[in-house]
């Protein structure tokens, strides 16, 4: 699925013109991006949370040469799927959902 297909869904299901649908979809993702860029998390109930996390500097190694390198402190984005989404993916019976569903890293 691409952004174009999401736009298509909006066009078909909500009834906006293709242009408006495209504009709205674009705006939604832009807004999420800008919010995350400020370091703020974005929580979409029923889907998941996008959270910016700080990583401390650490020593790493080039796996090819074995040379030690310094990985600087950085910020990374993580996605934690909501329980609802995880359940949706498993509720068709092809994969048994266990009680341990909520078990997290």
């Amino acid at each position: 699925m691409t952004k174009a297909e999401i736009v298509e869904q909006i066009y078909e299901q909500v009834g906006f013109s293709k242009k408006e649908s495209a504009e709205l979809v674009e705006k939604v993702f832009e807004t999420i991006k800008e919010t995350l860029a400020r370091g703020e998390k974005v929580k979409i109930s029923g889907f998941g949370n996008f959270v910016v996390r700080g990583k401390n500097a650490r020593k790493g190694r080039n796996p090819q040469t074995g040379q030690e390198i310094l990985l600087e402190a950085r910020r990374v984005l993580t996605f934690k799927p909501s329980l609802v989404l995880k359940t949706i993916l498993n509720d068709d019976g092809s994969v048994e959902v266990s009680v341990a569903e909520t078990y997290e890293r």
Binding site: E40, I44, V52, I88, V95, V97
Partner: protein
């Protein structure tokens, strides 16, 4: 920012579209993405990232409290890989680091 905050922000930028309609659009976006993942489809949003479903094999786990072995069935889990542009946007912020977010794992 929550979903309602997102709806609010998008509605402000699109004054010609009612907030109610914006809400429907935002909900439809995430519902159609969830549906795509449900049928195992990969989602790619340029500049944002991609979502993919991975299968976790069944394994023997352990109840951490009692030490009792439990069977954990195979399950499908969504994975998100951040896109290059967003990755750089997030990392490119001022040197002040994000307060360590550990212990901040509330789910929705």
């Amino acid at each position: 920012m929550t979903k309602s905050g997102l709806i609010e922000a998008v509605a402000e930028c699109t004054p010609h579209i009612s907030k109610k309609d914006t809400e429907i659009v935002v909900n439809t976006i995430f519902e159609s993405m969830a549906q795509a993942l449900k049928v195992g489809e990969r989602i790619e949003i340029r500049g944002f990232g991609s979502f993919q479903v991975k299968v976790r094999e069944a394994r023997e786990g352990r109840n951490p409290k009692t030490g009792e072995p439990v069977h954990i069935s195979a399950k499908r889990t969504p994975f998100f890989k951040v896109g290059k542009e967003l990755k750089e946007m997030v990392d490119g912020i001022a040197p002040e680091r994000v307060a360590s977010n550990s212990g901040n794992n509330e789910s929705s």
